[in-house]
C-alpha cells in the first residue's frame, strides 16, 4: 500500500495539530484549572425539599467577596428567583433538580451546567461587571421551559 509523500506531509500536519490541541487543553486544565463542571455528589431527587442545604435555597456569604448560592430547579422556575452580590464577588453555585433534567446557564459569563435529578451540580464564577444577568434553563424540561429563568444582580 503506497502512501504518497505529500500525504505523509499532510498527515504529519494533522497529527501535529492533534498533539497541539491536546497539549493546550491539558495544560489549561492542569495549570489553570479550566475543567468542565464535574461535581460528583448524589442526592435523592424526591427529597430535595428536606435535604440540607437545599431545604433553604439561597445565597450564603462565606467570606468577604465569596458566596455560595444554593439553587433548586423545578418546573418551571429556579429558587431563589433573584440574588444580589457586590461586584467582584466570587460565587459558587450549587444546583439540583427536584423533578426532571434542567440546564443552568448565565449567558456571556461561562456559567453553564446540566442539572440532573439525583446529582448536585457545582460551578463557580467571579462577577467582574455590574449589571443584571439573566439566568436561564437551557435544557428542555416541559411545556413551560421557555419561562424558566431567574436573575443575578451585580451591584
Amino acid at each position: 500500500m503506497h502512501v504518497h509523500r505529500q500525504e505523509r506531509i499532510w498527515m504529519t500536519f494533522g497529527l501535529a495539530m492533534l498533539v497541539i490541541f491536546l497539549a493546550v487543553i491539558t495544560t489549561a486544565a492542569v495549570v489553570d484549572g479550566f475543567v468542565p463542571p464535574s461535581h460528583v455528589q448524589s442526592i435523592d431527587p424526591t427529597k430535595v425539599a428536606q435535604t440540607p442545604p437545599f431545604d433553604h435555597p439561597g445565597l450564603r456569604k462565606v467570606a468577604d467577596g465569596a458566596y455560595e448560592a444554593y439553587y433548586v430547579a423545578r418546573i418551571f422556575s429556579f429558587t431563589p428567583a433573584s440574588i444580589e452580590v457586590p461586584v467582584g464577588s466570587r460565587v459558587t453555585f450549587y444546583v439540583t433538580s427536584a423533578d426532571v433534567e434542567h440546564g443552568f446557564s448565565i449567558p456571556e459569563t461561562g456559567v453553564n451546567t446540566m442539572v440532573t435529578p439525583g446529582w448536585v451540580s457545582q460551578v463557580s464564577h467571579t462577577f467582574k461587571e455590574r449589571g443584571t444577568f439573566l439566568l436561564v434553563c437551557n435544557e428542555y424540561c416541559g411545556s413551560g421551559h421557555q419561562m424558566m429563568a431567574a436573575k443575578v444582580e451585580v451591584k
Partner: protein, 555 residues
C-alpha cells in the same frame, strides 16, 4: 412506475441481483425523501416561532413539533437513506442470485417502528425531543417504535454481512469490493453503537410500562450518548462512502487509493464509540478525568478526516490533470458543477469544513461551557448533518432514482437550483445560529424573549436570520420533492438506462493488505475500545448513585 423494473433481464447474476434489489432500494430512497419533506416543514415553523413571527397552536405546540423534527431528521430520514444506499452498494458490487427477503423484513420493521413513534409524537404523548432524556416519560408506544426502528436496521445489516460473507467464501483470495466493504464496515460500527439503545431501552421500556418505579437518569443519559455520537458518524461515514466511491464517477475520476480508503473506514469504526462523553462535558456525576479521556479519543477522528480530505482533493486534481487542467482555479472550474449528483456532495464538502472547525470547539473540553446547549450546537449539527450529509444524500438521490427507474430526472435544472439554494439557505441559517449561540441564546426553547429581559434582546436579529435561512432551505426541500415525485409520476423513459455506478481505483486492490478486510476482528477491537472507555464512567454512575427518579409528564 414499479412495473418498469423487470424482475429479471435474464443474463448474468449481477443483472439479476440488481433487478431484485432495485425496488427495495427505491422504496428506502422515497421513504427518506417523504420524511425529509415533512421534517423540513416543521423546521421552518420552528424558525418562525423563535423569530416571534408565529405562535404554534396548543394542539400542535412547539415542543411536539420539535420532537417530530428531530426524530424525523436525525433518526428516520438519515437511517432510511443510509440503509437503502448500503443495500445498493452491496447488491450492485457482489454478483449473486439472492433473496431480498431479509432486506424487506428490515424495511418493514423500520417502517412500523417509525409509524408507532410518529403516532406517539403527534398525539402529544411523547414530547420528549429526539434525545428522550429521562425522567421525562413518554408513552410506551414511543419507546417501542424507536426500538423497532433500530431493530429493522439490524436486519439490513445482517443482509449486508451475509452477502459479504458469501463473497469472501466464493472469492477467498480477493478483496471485498470497496463499496460493499464500506457498507459492512459502517454497519459494524452501527451494530456496536446501537447496543447503547438496547441498554437504554432495557431501562426505559419496563419503566414506561410501570413495571419499575424509578429510573437512573445519569445512566440513561450515558447510554444515550454512547449511541448518540456514533449516530453522527453513521451519517458522516455514509456521506464519505459517496464522496470516495460515487463522486469520482461523476467526472470520470478514479478512487485515489483502495487501501487508504479502507484504512480510513477502519479507523472510523474504531474511533466512533469510545467518545460519547464529549456530549456530557457539563454533566454532574462524571469525573473530569473520564471527560478528558473522551476528549482525546474524539480528537483521534482528525486522522481519518484528514486522510479523507486529502483523498477527495487528490481525486479531483488527478482527473483534472488528465484532462489537461492545472492549478487550483483550473481544477475547480473543470469539475462538473452543473451536475447535481456532483454539486450536492461538493457543496456539502464546503460546508463540512466549517462543521469540522465548530466540532473542534465543541470537543475542546473546557471551551465547551461557552457553547453547550446554546444555539451554537444547533448551528453545528445543521452544518454537518444538514450540510454534508443531507446534501450528499440528496445529490445521490438524483443519481439513484434515474438509475433505479430507468427514467431521466424530472426538471434537472430545478434539481441543480435546489442544491445551490440549500447551500445558501443553510449557510445563512447556520451562521445565524452559531452567532446567537455565542451570545448565549439557549437551544430547544419555544420563545427566547424572556419577558423582554435585557440579555435576551441581542438574540433577536440572529433568530430572524435563522428563520430567513430556514425558509430558503424549506423552499429548497420543496424543489427536491417536486423533482423526486415528478420523476416518479411522469413517464420519461431514458433511451439508455442512466448509470449510478462506483468509480474504479487508481491502484490494484490486491495491493491492499488483506488484514484491512477482517471486519470481524476490527469489530471486536472496536467493541473492546468502547468497553474500555465506558467501564469507568458506567461503574462510577452505578456505585455513586443509588437514587432513582420517578417518571414525569411535564408537557
Amino acid at each position: 412506475m414499479v412495473t418498469t423494473i423487470a424482475p429479471s433481464r435474464g443474463g448474468d447474476a449481477l443483472e439479476f441481483s440488481r433487478a431484485n434489489g432495485d425496488l427495495l432500494v427505491l422504496t428506502h430512497i422515497y421513504t427518506s425523501t417523504l420524511v425529509l419533506g415533512i421534517g423540513a416543514l416543521f423546521g421552518m415553523l420552528q424558525g418562525f416561532s423563535r423569530a416571534n413571527w408565529i405562535v404554534m397552536p396548543a394542539w400542535f405546540d412547539y415542543y411536539r413539533m420539535l420532537t417530530a423534527h428531530g426524530v424525523l431528521m436525525a433518526l428516520v430520514f438519515t437511517t432510511f437513506f443510509i440503509t437503502g444506499f448500503f443495500t445498493y452498494s452491496v447488491y450492485h458490487t457482489i454478483p449473486r442470485v439472492r433473496s431480498t427477503r431479509l432486506g424487506w423484513i428490515g424495511y418493514c420493521v423500520m417502517l412500523v417502528g417509525t409509524v408507532m413513534a410518529a403516532v406517539a409524537i403527534l398525539d402529544g404523548s411523547a414530547s420528549v425531543l429526539y434525545t428522550f432524556y429521562a425522567p421525562l416519560k413518554a408513552s410506551p408506544l414511543f419507546y417501542f417504535g424507536a426500538t423497532l426502528l433500530v431493530a429493522g436496521t439490524w436486519f439490513v445489516a445482517a443482509d449486508v454481512f451475509l452477502n459479504v460473507a458469501w463473497f469472501k467464501k466464493q472469492h477467498p483470495n480477493e478483496r471485498i469490493p470497496l463499496p460493499a466493504f464500506i457498507a459492512a464496515c459502517t454497519l459494524t460500527m452501527w451494530i456496536i453503537a446501537t447496543l447503547g439503545v438496547v441498554a437504554e431501552m432495557g431501562l426505559l421500556i419496563p419503566w414506561s410500562l410501570g413495571w419499575t418505579s424509578g429510573i437512573d437518569v445519569g445512566l440513561t443519559r450515558m447510554f444515550f450518548w454512547y449511541f448518540g455520537h456514533p449516530l453522527v458518524y453513521f451519517w458522516i461515514m455514509a456521506a464519505y462512502a459517496i464522496w470516495y466511491t460515487v463522486v469520482p464517477a461523476t467526472f470520470g475520476g478514479r478512487i485515489f487509493s483502495d487501501g487508504l480508503t479502507r484504512l480510513a473506514f477502519v479507523m472510523l469504526l474504531l474511533l466512533s464509540t469510545p467518545v460519547g462523553l464529549h456530549h456530557q462535558f457539563l454533566d454532574p456525576g462524571i469525573s473530569a478525568g473520564w471527560k478528558w479521556l473522551h476528549t482525546v479519543t474524539t480528537y483521534g477522528v482528525i486522522i481519518p478526516s484528514f486522510m479523507t480530505a486529502f483523498a477527495i482533493f487528490a481525486t479531483f486534481e488527478l482527473a483534472a490533470r488528465k484532462a489537461g487542467r492545472r492549478g487550483f482555479i483550473g481544477v475547480v472550474r473543470w469539475l462538473p458543477w452543473k451536475n447535481p449528483v456532483f454539486a450536492g456532495p461538493a457543496l456539502g464538502m464546503i460546508l463540512f469544513i466549517f462543521g469540522g472547525f465548530g466540532g473542534i470547539v465543541n470537543n475542546s473540553y473546557s471551551m465547551d461551557v461557552l457553547v453547550h446547549n446554546t444555539m451554537w450546537i444547533v448551528g453545528h449539527f445543521h452544518i454537518t448533518v444538514g450540510g454534508p450529509a443531507a446534501l450528499t444524500f440528496i445529490g445521490a438521490t438524483y443519481g439513484l432514482v434515474p438509475a433505479l427507474t430507468g427514467r431521466t430526472l424530472f426538471a434537472p435544472r430545478l434539481a441543480l437550483i435546489q442544491v445551490y439554494t440549500w447551500f445558501v439557505g443553510m449557510a445563512i441559517m447556520s451562521t445565524s445560529m452559531h452567532w446567537a449561540g455565542l451570545l448565549g441564546s439557549p437551544r430547544r426553547t419555544a420563545d427566547v424573549s424572556y419577558f423582554g429581559a435585557q440579555g435576551a434582546a441581542t438574540w433577536h436579529p440572529q433568530m430572524v436570520g435563522a428563520a430567513v435561512g430556514g425558509t430558503i432551505v424549506a423552499l429548497s426541500v420543496l424543489m427536491f420533492i417536486i423533482v423526486a415525485t415528478g420523476t416518479f409520476l411522469t413517464d420519461r423513459s431514458a433511451e439508455v438506462r442512466p448509470a449510478f455506478g462506483f468509480a474504479a481505483t487508481n491502484e490494484d486492490a490486491l495491493e491492499t493488505p488483506p488484514v484491512l478486510d477482517r471486519l470481524g476482528r476490527w469489530g471486536v477491537l472496536a467493541l473492546a475500545l468502547a468497553v474500555l472507555a465506558y467501564a469507568g464512567p458506567v461503574t462510577q454512575q452505578i456505585q455513586a448513585h443509588a437514587y432513582l427518579a420517578p417518571g414525569m409528564r411535564t408537557w
